[in-house]
């Protein structure tokens, strides 16, 4: 995989846009990443995409680092650097500037209304991520069972998610999933 300039520019633009559209956090743009990387541009297949999402959940650090894996897969080290900077840079710049004025508008009625309007959208986007990841990773009844069992355990207990990931990995090792 040799990184050529065009693909790095595409990665930079697409991920910078996603960074600014990630309402509520990185999980909100998983569907758009899937649309870009799998459906539109054919950079990877469903399996590779869900593998990368799974690795970003299992590894230490924030989930947003999935973009590093996508970048590396598409264009090697340079790609990893570009996607990471494009995803984490633009909103950090915005945060730097808005951080200074936040105290002045944090209690303004329009600010409260903007947040009240945006929160359900970001929940809906994470819901869309759940739909896409489930459809892309569950190809057997056992896989569906793992998804449901993990969801139920994570919802009703306070177990560390890493245990659930570890158990699911062992279940996978049987070769039946």
């Amino acid at each position: 995989m040799k990184a050529d300039g065009d693909i790095l520019v595409t990665l930079a633009i697409q991920f910078a846009i996603m960074s600014l559209l990630a309402l509520g956090g990185a999980n909100a743009v998983v569907p758009e990443m899937h649309r870009q990387a799998v459906e539109l541009r054919g950079w990877m297949n469903d399996r590779e995409f869900t593998d990368m999402f799974a690795m970003s959940q299992a590894a230490p650090g924030p989930n947003v680092m999935m973009v590093t894996l996508i970048g590396y897969h598409v264009a090697g080290f340079a790609g990893a650097l570009v996607t990471t900077l494009a995803m984490c840079g633009p909103t950090a710049v915005l945060a730097h500037f808005l951080g200074r004025t936040w105290d002045r508008f944090k209690d303004a009625p329009w600010r409260v209304a903007v947040q009240a309007g945006v929160v359900p959208i970001s929940v809906g986007l994470v819901g869309a991520s759940a739909i896409i990841l489930t459809r892309a990773s569950d190809h057997s009844w056992l896989a569906v069972a793992i998804t449901l069992a993990t969801a139920a355990t994570a919802f009703w207990t306070r177990w560390n998610p890493l245990w659930l990931i570890g158990i699911a990995g062992l279940a996978g090792l049987t070769g039946l999933v």
Partner: protein, 193 residues
């Protein structure tokens, strides 16, 4: 220092650029299972750079902003301490370790991703990761579906448009964001009738 929250400023002196870099660097070393609790522990309890209330206030801003919340937090906090260079120090300190970890994971995945044992393990982990997201969204959505208002409808329309119809995110947000904010504005609680 008394335990009351009456004093508006934290007890510690303003951290230097190196302090900012190292604080976030250390947080990522211990950051299994989410970095937010570790950030809070270091900033509020150990270093006392922020009071609990200030931390909540900064975090509220980071949730308000688009993009990865915790990355925004590095920029906001660094920027408040030392402006743009402080933000850069904190941001870099936070991203170096996760970047190297994911780079290593990427290298290993490209090399060994097709090995049978790895394939099998990942085919078990991927459905579990999807399950974790389902639990996350269920926790976020539950309070909304217990109250009256437009929020549950907005949640469902967004999930439908993006998750099932696979429409482009930018266009969907272009329509839904103004509509949803408009609805929230109309429903806003007013102190004076």
């Amino acid at each position: 220092m008394s335990e009351t929250d009456a004093s508006p400023s934290p007890a510690a002196p303003i951290p230097s650029h190196a302090d900012l870099f190292l604080a976030f660097f250390k947080i990522t070393l211990s950051g299994f299972g989410g970095t937010l609790p570790w950030t809070r522990r270091m900033f509020v309890e150990k270093k006392r750079w922020l009071t609990a209330e200030e931390f909540n206030n900064v975090y509220a801003l980071c949730q308000f902003l688009p993009g990865p919340n915790i990355v925004n937090l590095t920029a906001v906090f660094g920027s408040r301490m030392h402006g743009a260079t402080g933000a850069l120090a904190a941001w870099t300190g936070f991203l170096i370790v996760p970047f190297c970890v994911m780079l290593a994971a990427g290298v290993l995945y490209e090399r060994y991703g097709q090995v049978e044992a790895v394939r099998h393990a990942l085919s078990g982990i991927a459905p579990a990761a999807a399950g974790l997201i389902i639990a996350t969204v269920a926790k976020m959505a539950a309070p909304m579906f217990r109250s009256f208002g437009p929020a549950p409808i907005v949640v469902l329309v967004t999930a439908f448009a993006i998750g099932l119809m696979r429409w482009p995110l930018f266009l969907v947000l272009l329509v839904l964001v103004p509509v949803s904010i408009g609805l929230a504005w109309r429903m806003r609680p007013r102190t004076q009738p």
